[in-house]
């Protein structure tokens, strides 16, 4: 499966006609049209139909489009899938995913809808949103519950609410959960996407949090405002030196054909699969940043 950079996932309410037209123009790697928290109960059907028409009409180019669907346990979740998949939706974030059974339930529904509409089996992918202590404790089993799962995301607001914890700028209360989410993603070989930063006035705090997310191993960050995109991309963009080293490693690995195992030497240093994977990640980020083609 193609590996893509997911440095930024911009939230946009699905019931806002303007945002459906403009959200992808801000340069985020992914746009997440929200049918869940951003849409009030009485407008769920309208948001879903509007997004369906947008997906049929608008060319979103290279931007990866996701929809945050409602949990399948609600009266809206299944209709979100049944209406949006035939309209072209292929990636969806499953809100409040707490157990592997939630993933399997969505997996089965997607299989059924794909079959009904002649869509390739497995074409629809899932991002699981982990927002409670139970979800975090089940992170590994959720991440490996289906080959459709391409990433897991962490939601700090609901997590702190359900923990009875206070969310602070330093984020110490989230450290363990964040680390567990990243570890689960690494075990499954998928991306981990970090939670949003809602204080738009505190740019310095946001930068610190993004650096910390990147250092922990997150592949990207959910964003609530277009102004956050450039900041995240800058932090997630490798420097020239890192890129040159990584390109050298990737080329040497390709030449030696050791993708399935083995060790090579590059500039006198031993290079094995984890080092190559890291180098590939840097090259991917550099491509997304437009540093190389």
């Amino acid at each position: 499966m193609e590996k893509r950079a997911r440095r930024t996932m911009l939230f946009a309410p699905a019931n806002n006609p303007k945002m459906l037209v403009t959200a992808h123009l801000y340069g985020a790697d992914c746009v997440l049209f929200d049918l869940e928290d951003a849409v009030k109960y009485a407008d769920k059907d309208a948001a879903r139909d509007l997004l369906a028409e947008a997906l049929k009409t608008i060319d979103y180019g290279d931007t990866e489009i996701f929809a945050r669907i409602n949990p399948l346990s609600t009266e809206f979740g299944k209709d979100d899938v049944r209406i949006l998949v035939p309209s072209g939706l292929r990636k969806m974030r499953l809100a409040m995913c707490e157990k592997p059974e939630h993933v399997k339930e969505l997996d089965e529904l997607l299989t059924e809808v794909e079959k009904e509409y002649g869509i390739e089996n497995g074409a629809c992918k899932i991002q699981c949103s982990l927002e409670t202590p139970l979800a975090v404790m089940n992170a590994v089993s959720i991440a490996v519950a289906s080959p459709r799962v391409i990433s897991i995301s962490f939601g700090a607001e609901d997590f702190t609410r359900t923990m009875g914890a206070e969310r602070t700028k330093e984020g110490k209360e989230l450290f363990v959960a964040r680390t567990m989410v990243v570890m689960a993603a690494a075990i499954a070989g998928i991306d981990a996407i970090d939670t949003v930063w809602a204080d738009l006035d505190d740019e310095e705090g946001f930068k610190e949090e993004v650096k910390s997310s990147m250092n922990l191993g997150f592949a990207g960050k959910s964003c609530v405002h277009p102004s956050q995109i450039k900041i995240v991309h800058k932090i997630f963009t490798p420097n020239k030196e890192e890129l040159e080293k990584s390109l050298e490693i990737v080329r040497a690995a390709e030449a030696a054909n050791i993708s399935k195992g083995g060790v090579i030497t590059v500039n006198g240093k031993m290079v094995d699969i984890p080092v190559i994977a890291k180098a590939e990640k840097i090259v991917r980020l550099a491509k997304s940043a437009g540093m190389i083609k």
């Binding site: 006609p17 303007k18 459906l20 037209v21 009485a42 059907d45 309208a46 139909d49 509007l50 997004l51 369906a52 028409e53 947008a54 049929k56 009409t57 608008i58």
Partner: protein
């Protein structure tokens, strides 16, 4: 059976569908009706055809909506009318 969907906001439209009608009647209220009225009507008609609705009076109050918005709002208004809900 009446269904309403949309908003009186920029780039949006408020669509009212009344299924207690004989035949199809589409009324467009828009500042740009002279230029785009026909296209708006076509968008509504496409949705009615897809949903196999033959009897409906549809009022589109347009506030600068693109075609996909008119289609989405019409589709929801029809669904709401069919389920008897007026929102």
């Amino acid at each position: 059976m009446v269904g309403i969907c949309g908003n009186e906001k920029d780039s949006d439209a408020l669509v009212t569908v009344n299924l207690d009608n004989i035949g199809t009647e589409i009324i467009i209220e828009s500042k740009i009706k002279d230029m785009f009225g026909k296209l708006m009507e076509k968008a509504v008609r496409e949705v009615l055809d897809e949903m196999k609705v033959e009897n409906a009076k549809v009022l589109v109050q347009d506030f600068g909506a693109l075609d996909f918005v008119i289609k989405g709002r019409t589709r929801t208004a029809v669904r709401r009318a069919l389920t008897g809900g007026m929102k």
